[in-house]
């Protein structure tokens, strides 16, 4: 992982508050745990039926029956609990997830999220993402600011099929922390070594920049 991505993940980790129940999506979000103190009081949930996810294990120490929703071999911690898939999503839909962090193809200025389908190219199914995005009390996105071709992922409107409407509260990228405010994308923090002009250039819609000095991460 590049330094910029590593800093993005480390910054995102500071979004977790003591006592929260959190679901970390496949990919970059799962790396967030590497930046939490060992005794940080938080409960991690995975859709396939576990609260209290412990550290990821190498194959030679793994249990064949213990994976997370991304297929990684994980472990338990004292107080972990297993349950079935209906109970797992009951928890999600009834509002017991304080925070989820997800990846994105596109985030719109109104908080719309597209992260599951590229028609004609990529349509593996929506999995559990739609319920996480729609029902977690707070949805944060972790993504590179632009795609591989350099096109903005933060856009005026999503062009891809939506995962959920108006769900995203905050976006962590390799360039900035950006909130979805009533007026649209609003800059909160900037990454080290990135200029304001570069962030504005890489963002696909108006970026509101407060008058105050912004923190650097």
């Amino acid at each position: 992982m590049s330094n910029a991505k590593e800093r993005m993940v480390a910054r995102a980790a500071r979004e977790l508050r003591p006592g929260m129940v959190v679901n970390l999506g496949i990919g970059l979000p799962t790396k967030v745990v590497n930046h939490l103190p060992a005794d940080f009081p938080v409960c991690l949930h995975t859709e396939n039926g576990l609260t209290g996810i412990g550290p990821t294990l190498p194959a030679d120490q793994a249990s064949r029956n213990l994976i997370d929703a991304g297929g990684a071999y994980v472990s338990t911690i004292p107080g972990s609990a297993f349950f079935d898939s209906a109970t797992s999503f009951a928890l999600v839909r009834s509002g017991r997830l304080d925070l989820t962090m997800l990846g994105a193809f596109e985030v719109a200025a109104n908080g719309d999220l597209a992260n599951w389908k590229i028609p004609g190219k990529f349509s593996p199914g929506v999995g559990g993402g739609i319920e996480l995005a729609q029902k977690a009390r707070r949805v944060a996105v972790l993504t590179t600011h632009t795609d591989r071709a350099g096109n903005p992922k933060l856009k005026k409107a999503c062009s891809l099929p939506l995962t959920a409407k108006g769900c995203v509260a905050r976006v962590f990228t390799d360039m900035a922390v950006i909130d979805i405010a009533p007026e649209g994308f609003t800059l909160v923090e900037t990454a080290q070594g990135v200029s304001l002009a570069e962030i504005i250039e890489a963002t696909g819609d108006v970026l509101h920049v407060p008058d105050t000095e912004l923190p650097n991460f």
Partner: protein, 230 residues
């Protein structure tokens, strides 16, 4: 990472109940009824409550103490057969009673806990229990729409808990407790023992602590919990 600690005193826990709240109570008869939390609720004195419980216990036990204290405006239940006092309050209009078929009550609570709006059932079609319910056609079948049920507070009884609020019930004391654990904004569990994290096996936990907000350990059990001598 370490799972958060949710241990709480009985008084601090019950203080979450406000006038006008809907309060779910676990239990089917004696087993699983949170008698100690009910007693604390009577002391707390929140008024105009809607109580959701399978039954009204027996005279001078559990729910009946709430009824006697005049704190209950409405009771959503399945059967009052063992509490003549509750039936008298109903017949004289002192409390409003809504009867549900037992499995429908259980399922409405679970639906609330699962973040659903309700479910489709054919139970009671052709009887007076179907009266007033919304009807929906699905293909060639007719169903009643049963709305989900949620509460402001759920009061539960568990056999064992841990400090995160993971719960394990014993025998037929399970009944409505795991369903109500899912279906309230504030979930309070009394447990006969609150154990350290890790003392409950992860495969044998009946309610994940994620659903539980506060857990309190019981001291010596009052005689309400004991075998009823008839």
């Amino acid at each position: 990472m370490k799972l958060p600690d949710k241990q709480c005193s009985l008084q601090d826990a019950i203080a979450h109940v406000k006038d006008g709240d809907t309060v779910m109570l676990g239990g089917f008869g004696v087993p699983g009824t949170p008698f100690t939390l009910i007693h604390a609720l009577v002391q707390h004195g929140a008024r105009n409550l809607t109580i959701v419980k399978n039954d009204a216990n027996e005279p001078d036990m559990g729910v009946d103490h709430l009824l006697q204290s005049g704190l209950v405006a409405r009771l959503i239940t399945t059967h009052l057969g063992l509490n003549a006092h509750a039936i008298e309050l109903m017949n004289t209009g002192q409390i409003d009673v809504e009867f549900n078929a037992q499995g429908i009550l259980a399922e409405r609570i679970r639906a609330g806990g699962a973040g659903l709006g309700g479910f489709l059932s054919d139970i009671g079609i052709g009887t007076e229990l179907a009266e007033g319910k919304q009807i929906i056609e699905q293909g060639d079948k007719t169903f009643l729409v049963e709305p989900a049920l949620r509460a402001d507070v759920a009061l539960l009884h568990a056999d064992r808990a841990d400090s995160f609020g993971n719960l394990a019930y014993v025998a037929t004391a399970r009944n409505f407790n795991p369903l109500m654990a899912m279906a309230a904004d504030c979930v309070i569990a009394e447990a006969e023992a609150v154990l350290p994290l890790g003392a409950l096996a992860a495969d044998d936990i009946h309610t994940t602590g994620v659903f539980v907000d506060h857990v309190t350990e019981l001291g010596a059990l009052s005689k309400e919990y004991a075998v009823v001598q008839r």
